[in-house]
Symmetry: C2
Subunit: 467 residues, 2 copies
Amino acid sequence: MVQATALPRNEAGIAAAIGILKQQFGDRLQTGEAIREQHGHTTTWITNQAPDAVVFPTSSAEVSEIVKCCAEYGVPVIPFGTGTSLEGHVNAPAGGICVDMMRMDQIMSVQPEDLTVVVQPGVTREQLNTHLRDQGLFFPIDPGANASLGGMTATRASGTNAVRYGTMKDNVLALEVVMADGEVIKTAQRAKKSSAGYDLTRLMIGSEGTLGLITEITLRLQGIPEAIRSARCSFRSVDEACRAVMMTIQYGIPVARMELLDEMSVKAANSYSNLSLPETPLLLLEFHGSDAGVLEQSEIFASIAEEFGGFDLEATSTAEERNKLWQARHDMYWASLQIRPGAKGISTDVCVPISRLAECVGAARDKAEDMGLLAPMVGHVGDGNFHALLLTDMESEEEKQKADAYIGWLNDMAIEMDGTCTGEHGIGQGKRPYLQKELGAATRYMAAIKAALDPENILNPGKILEM
Amino acid sequence: MVQATALPRNEAGIAAAIGILKQQFGDRLQTGEAIREQHGHTTTWITNQAPDAVVFPTSSAEVSEIVKCCAEYGVPVIPFGTGTSLEGHVNAPAGGICVDMMRMDQIMSVQPEDLTVVVQPGVTREQLNTHLRDQGLFFPIDPGANASLGGMTATRASGTNAVRYGTMKDNVLALEVVMADGEVIKTAQRAKKSSAGYDLTRLMIGSEGTLGLITEITLRLQGIPEAIRSARCSFRSVDEACRAVMMTIQYGIPVARMELLDEMSVKAANSYSNLSLPETPLLLLEFHGSDAGVLEQSEIFASIAEEFGGFDLEATSTAEERNKLWQARHDMYWASLQIRPGAKGISTDVCVPISRLAECVGAARDKAEDMGLLAPMVGHVGDGNFHALLLTDMESEEEKQKADAYIGWLNDMAIEMDGTCTGEHGIGQGKRPYLQKELGAATRYMAAIKAALDPENILNPGKILEM
């Protein structure tokens, strides 16, 4: 369990920067405790470290001015979206200025012929999809939370649709970024592909606010599929479910979503969402395509599932049934918490090669039982990514230590399997030691890049790297 | 026309490094003029700048030793694959050691369940696909040339299949890289997705040997589609062909390849490949999927094509017919050269948003005619990327100047259209001024990254950036 370490504070600089920015931003700079606490809040297992002030810019030019001021006084700058990140990304270990991007919420332009859109970072994915619906378009990345697109970019988010549509790295074409010296750059043009120099777009995606503040995002869009078909199928064991997943991927079925709920999660979903699913491991799938295409996909899946002992397979193309199932999946976090009222849910995020998935999930399940941990598991299993939600009594030191030990054990196992400690949540403060274990010497060069682009270490300090 | 500028040479360091490496590598280090000239050769419009020696390592450890030696003596290191790059990437403007990777040609391991393979950089894409065929797998990126996978990674290559499968940036999972100080790092694990720190994988892809030498590549594979169907369709104008392309993309048809040949290219193909295609603009398409799926895709395309005046549409699922058409496409470079025997072909590489493609190709065609340039055009039009091949008499200063002016004009227009001067060939030496025009201030931060990772500027100096 991480007690976030405090870093040295530049008191004089912070006071000076707040004074200057207050003059410029007036009521759009806040220093009240409640608002500061809220902006240090991270739905997380890491203790809160509030910033000294929260500022609400409405344009790239204003973000640039904020950063220039903070650069002059050596003050930390922490970008903030919806605050749904899980690894302490928005904590302020050295204090400083939180830049709340949520008033930069304009959809700047849509180019339907190019399947692209340009948005400000405070636009949320639901806001974007509502805006696009009439044009028959959608943005596919869906991390569950109604996160901001700036935050999703900064953390290289993905979610349930990634098995078909990829992650943020595959769906961002270009960025406008305010660099540590306040310069505003664009990382790429709007062309669909490019070989023009270093890929600053991808370098910024997943950099968690430590290399620059994202102020505009050009996204790739998809046409809303002609047909969508959902399926669910129960299995006798997680192992058999995972084997069915592996075969489905190998078969090349372009599944849009493929989610695993373990037995404990299914029980929780039944109770929370008033369903009557068989209380065994469950796969939820979604197929996108033409009418004939989705039928074909779901039939091929059915025959694969049967081979691995799948039962109670149900498939539907009606929106109502589909939404009910996926709502239950999206509500899993809340459903799981009800297993143990009062407990906090701490989420793991390992991702391993598909061939190791059954083994990894099985071992994770056994270990949790051995350690007496309540840990329902759900997974974006088409990508080899799953989350165990450790239901932990945060008042009990023993439980917190157990959870910590479990997380460490699981991350180490995933790394050993040529996987990663984080498929989609990012490093933040919480996973820094595991990044070191996972990539070793490579982190030295990450640190060199950080030092080159942010020599004074003012951009979201204390995240990703041990500096 | 670029007369490549020479950079200052470190004569003493070069002599010392060659002496030391010669002792270690013996016959695997060559200094003969022919072999040096060949390794400065770049199928290009830029004058040849040969390295001082060519060394042939067989392992990552040997590459690391070479780089350490060159780092000690401040000697340039230039990685070399098949030498098919087009923008002077392998030139040695400051002399130095060329590292020929073609003896590192081992396919290290295939993981069919994960659809991944680990290869050394000297493996060519045809070699890989021959190896994979029996397992029902293939690697989709196809730049035409039988390039090395290391070179394709280093230049962020793409080609005809990119419209469906993406470019190298989308198909590389992880890299092993020898850094400028000789350290060997891995950039990522083999998991399908990850949020673990800065995306060094994507930073290395397209860095053209200026940030590190790629010594191992983990690639994503695809299952060989159950069915492949090809189609060709003639149009009355490039404009109508491009509009059909735009509609096909918007419709969401998962076309695998979609290539445009303009009238001049079709004539050349007829003559060179003994075909009898209507001598008007032509689209070549390929659909991948199930039997029913490819039929459905090609039927939807047919109805779109008809709407835009397409005629003589022919579709086939037989391998022989298909190969004949695509062979003609792959032979276009040679076919085009026959339009004007003795001339050299200089390829442009702009890529624009699809909505601007018809306008861009049309203007490019008009301008070439106005300037009296022979310039057949082919394009990966599904991505908005096309190549005009300027057939130029390299003995004529006037012609070379005209070609130069045309290239400048075309790149400027593409940039103006929110496109790029290079969709897939890279920057190398030739496009450095255009990178500056395209991304402006961003290039300063590229330079900062270069300086951080290669402070002595020994890795492929004089490429990408004006340094």
